[in-house]
Amino acid sequence: MTTQTKLSFDVLKIDAEQVVTEIAAAIRELVLHKFRKKGVVLGLSGGIDSSVTAALCARALGKERVLGLLMPEADSEEDTVKLSYLAADKLGIKTVLEDITPLLDAAGCYRRRDEAMRSVVPEYGPGWKAKIVLPSLVASDSYRIFSVVAQSPSGEQVSARLTPSAYLQVVAATSFKQRSRKMMEYYHADRLNYAVAGTPNRLEYDQGFFVKNGDGAADIKPIAHLYKTQVYQLAEFLELPEEIRNRPPTTDTYSLPQSQEEFYFSLPYNKMDLCLYARNQDIPAADISVALGLSEAQVERVLHDIDSKRKATRYLHLPPQLVAEVTEIQSY
């Protein structure tokens, strides 16, 4: 007779102290010995992932070997810079503020994005704000097709489905932001002989929630194996400021506030974590539905979406593909 344990959020509990010790040791080994670099540069956003990553790097290497970059732009939320400094001050790490708005402007980021928005919302213009959103996966079986939600200067909102070309152009244009930030990170890393730390958590990494050669690029990704729920546990153990620990996850990419659920994920992060964990452990949808208070059909949709995203974003993870192997460099 087998005894089945009910699935619960407890499966994601970790020994925070042990995990911190393990990650710090890995950072030291990778940065100092494998890469032979003197420290780490990372982008700070005032969010939980970059703050925990910075804390882990500081614990691993010493605070004097960690540089935090604050890289706001025109659409950044008001408290992004404030919370980034809050994290940096707590950790005692050095920071550099690089406002990337002029860089994005010169590259045509905002112009190209607005042009795409205007193709589906003709009245979109100066003073307007917008975001792109997906319909709820759990509410219906319909395909997840992006719409733009645009808000006029007087506060009226309009919504329109994005055409394929408009969607691709909006995403391509906004991806300038992540790629510009990564360019800045590698500038500072190169001048200091440091490595670059990426800050994705497991949900983001697994589900391809990053920009190729943008925030997807890095030398190390210290928390990519941790469920976001577990990142929060580390944040508490590392005594990061409450304001950062309580900040709702956001994309901080569009001019209208946009949650990660509206843009990408099907559920709040804690429920997504449990679904992802269950998917990885082949736990049946029936058990997941009891744990989450969703119907089995809803859970099946989420699990299907997890697999779909893995397939669709495989390309983002791939390094450059060679036509023929160059074996001589592999042993160095």
Binding site: Y143, I145, F146, P164, S308
Partner: protein, 96 residues
Amino acid sequence: MTEMQREIRQFIADNFIFDQDLQALSGSESLTQTGVIDSMGVLELIMFLEETYSIKIPDEETLPENLDTIDNIVRYLQGKLPLVEESHDNSDQVVI
């Protein structure tokens, strides 16, 4: 094969199949489950159908039962269009 099926198959071949065998794709096979189209492809398919057949596909009708197989698409279009001439082939029926 009806004209509508031919048009839809040709669109899929031109945009998603590339050098794979279109003939191997049956009318009842899931386009998404078989990896023929992804979420971006669904958007392109919707736009093609709206433009080609002068219809509007509202968000609540963007369902797998309407769009996930060639047979489903044809059935969905027949329900949307007031008059459908299925085929120019001698062997096929004209549905009104």
